[in-house]
Subunit: 448 residues, 2 copies
């Protein structure tokens, strides 16, 4: 016999066990439903690409460059695992421009890989969830993306959040008004740290990169402008015209005006953005950072194509959102099975158990059958541990009487019902089966 | 300006454009719904693992060994991309045995990578879609997996198929009866090619590996045993006891008896299987091969754990199924948008268009808005190309009259309806929006 191999995963990589995988899948499905409601279509790109294609845009000294998984394949090609979904989408848009046509709206949900330092709690494999509308400079597109973010939060049962919006052009014009005009890109990158590091640290850094103390104060004053977006934008001049139009479009498309906050400190560190920028914060846990961010850019695929491709996009931080729910204690009772019902097994009754389960599935109730006729106490412990909401006992006694015993695992009570009433009874019981967040089952199938 | 980089993908890798990605996502969602209905829970494992973990089980000369993507990471670890989902699941089960408990049923859908020769039309990145019940030797589990396959085919709108079942033990006992007893594993591997290569080629190969012509004839006679499973199994003796029990359980759990075919030529090449084995063929395109296969094994994780983990599993060949639909011409009219409705854009009416779209989405109808007020002919060509079912015209005239014009893109007709009747009218129109396969929209959201 061969010696056994240690069962382990790589540093920074991990398995998802059912408890968390169920929550993640539900969120992904909710997100996809919202994306499709707005007409976004799915696409897929390969995990592995030519290094040249993926790295072309990167500064050779950049952190991402050092983090990328890059190697030579069987054909001695220089290849790499994608580190985000934006670069592959730029390549995709340039390559398939004729086939897909413009404007084009897509969503893409998939893993990306970065060899980050896992000490910092960072994962080396994580999920990205992006949408973009390209091939249009229209404010209607920006407004739709903002409205989509509000719909998405609602569909994920996130009620307490702020969607903070800004416009790079508005910010730059405010800086110019305040006399700060030179070298604005580095200023934006520093300002972007306001939420995390606070004004004192940011002021220090602004002076370190060469701003006078007057200019630093002016920048911080501009960044302190903040309030309900629709109202505050009315008080501003022509420099806010673009963002006003975007916010009006967002409200027309269904964004909740009470969630839209104009926040001039939202700069988005990336050079990439040129117009509207936004971030989404949970009211109950703002410190975890933005859970949905994005903005408008002038040209997605400059590296691969001549004709410019303007667009607007958003990225949902699914892992971060689930981490937030975990920290807020909202996942404490998450089951590790998608089936709310377990049918127990009795000796010589396997076919009867299978038939009960079949009838429940036909009625739309996801149902598991315990496969072996082990002791009832053993089977009940299994149900307890998995988080089944109800357990069905259909042993020789019940079969003889034409009834079924239902155990409510939460109330720890049992009720005997007529076979014909079983499905209705369970439906009623499961209707109380609300979970805390993002996850209100739309059906007894356990997933929305 | 930096020189442009050629936008291209690696050989054997390809993008999925919306048309096909929409079909693929629908199928995945249907499959997940069925898996959950039977109590299977999702898990995830990393794309990248220690080579030792992934390769431990492989013959160093095997084809897969040569095909694997293997390299040294930043920490000089010997790592590889997973080439299937079975080996990672074996590692997962050994590693998390205490946390997950037994029995354990999981599904896992994800990409795997093999550097196969792309000349043969093989892809180097493809999707696997696996379910398993482990920690039980019960025939009830085998029966549930067969019933699940029938449910899955039904949910995918595949009505014309055969689920061919066999039992390795039954086959071996039939061979023994016919006097073929030595070196049966190679015989099974040859027999497995019957469907593809036919009896003449198989007979040649059997004689080449050392069978007498009598033994070869006996093997082929055994493999020709085939018929409706429930009936045919009644005519067999105790050697068919196991499979009889499994098939009875399958029928009790909801398998369609008319689809269950006992076929003694089903051997499944893998050494891995020890009991029930099965394959699923499309009546209209059997030559494409099995689209859902699996079976029972004695020990999943022998390489990583001491205590044996018996189980039974199935794997859905999603890419093959979609290829089959494509060959059967069933995807000819597949749209490249998930939204059946497009709202056109008129000059200075952007907010009105957004409001119409919002009302339709609130009514559960996925709706796209064209972002720019381009010429109507241009916008209509866009809708034609994308495959929108209906187009909404809500220009200044319509706004003044409180009506909306709806263009039926299939009938090429227009109808003016009252604003208040728009959603109902569209619902009616979309109800006729059946697609050919696997994909009957359960809602106007365009996805099931």
């Amino acid at each position: 016999m061969a010696p056994r191999i240690e069962a382990r995963t790589l540093k920074g990589f991990s398995d998802e066990l059912p408890e968390r995988a169920i929550v993640r899948e539900r969120c992904i499905e909710v997100a996809k439903r919202v994306f499709r409601d707005f007409g976004f279509a799915p696409i897929e790109t390969p995990a592995l690409e030519y290094s040249e294609v993926l790295l072309g845009k990167l500064d050779p000294d950049s952190e991402v460059q050092r983090q990328i998984y890059r190697f030579r394949d069987h054909g001695d090609r220089d290849v790499a695992l994608r580190f985000d979904l934006t670069v592959p989408f730029a390549r995709f848009a340039a390559q398939h421009r004729q086939a897909i046509g413009m404007p084009f709206r897509r969503y893409h949900i998939g893993p990306v890989w970065r060899g980050e330092n896992p000490q910092a709690g960072r994962r080396r494999e994580f999920l990205q969830c992006d949408i973009d509308i390209i091939g249009t400079a229209s404010a209607a597109a920006d407004g739709e993306v903002l409205a989509l973010v509000c719909h998405l939060m609602g569909a994920l049962d996130v009620d307490r959040y702020e969607l903070r919006v800004n416009d790079r052009r508005l910010l730059l014009s405010k800086f110019a008004e305040a006399g700060v005009t030179a070298g604005l890109e580095p200023v934006l990158r520093v300002v972007d740290k306001l939420e995390k590091q606070g004004p004192v640290a940011v002021a220090d850094e602004l002076e370190r990169i060469g701003l006078s103390s007057d200019a630093t104060r002016a920048v911080l004053d501009v960044c302190a402008i903040r309030g309900q977006a629709v109202e505050l934008l009315q008080t501003l001049g022509t420099e806010a015209e673009h963002l006003r139009e975007v916010v009006d479009m967002a409200v027309a498309a269904g964004a909740d005006p009470s969630k839209l906050v104009l926040d001039l400190s939202i700069a988005r560190g990336l050079d990439y953005y040129t117009g509207t920028v936004f971030e989404t914060f949970l009211t109950d846990l703002p410190a975890i950072g933005s859970i949905c961010s994005g903005g408008r850019y002038d040209d997605l695929a400059a590296l691969y194509a001549q004709e410019p491709l303007p667009g607007v996009g958003a990225s949902l931080g699914l892992t971060r959102l689930i981490d937030a729910w975990e920290q807020l204690g909202l996942l404490a009772e998450a089951p590790s099975t998608p089936a709310p019902v377990l049918v127990l097994q009795f000796a010589d009754s396997a076919e009867e158990s299978a038939r009960v389960a079949r009838r429940l599935r036909d009625a739309g109730i996801a149902t598991e059958v315990y496969p072996d006729a082990k002791k009832l106490a053993h089977q009940l412990r299994y149900a307890e541990r998995k988080g089944h909401r109800a357990v069905i006992l259909y042993g020789p006694d019940e079969q003889a009487r034409g009834v079924v015993k239902v155990r409510d695992m939460r109330a720890r009570s049992e009720l005997t019902v007529d076979q014909s009433e079983l499905a209705d009874h369970l439906m009623e019981l499961l209707r109380q089966n609300r979970t805390a967040v993002g996850l209100t089952p739309r059906s007894t199938r356990g997933h929305p």
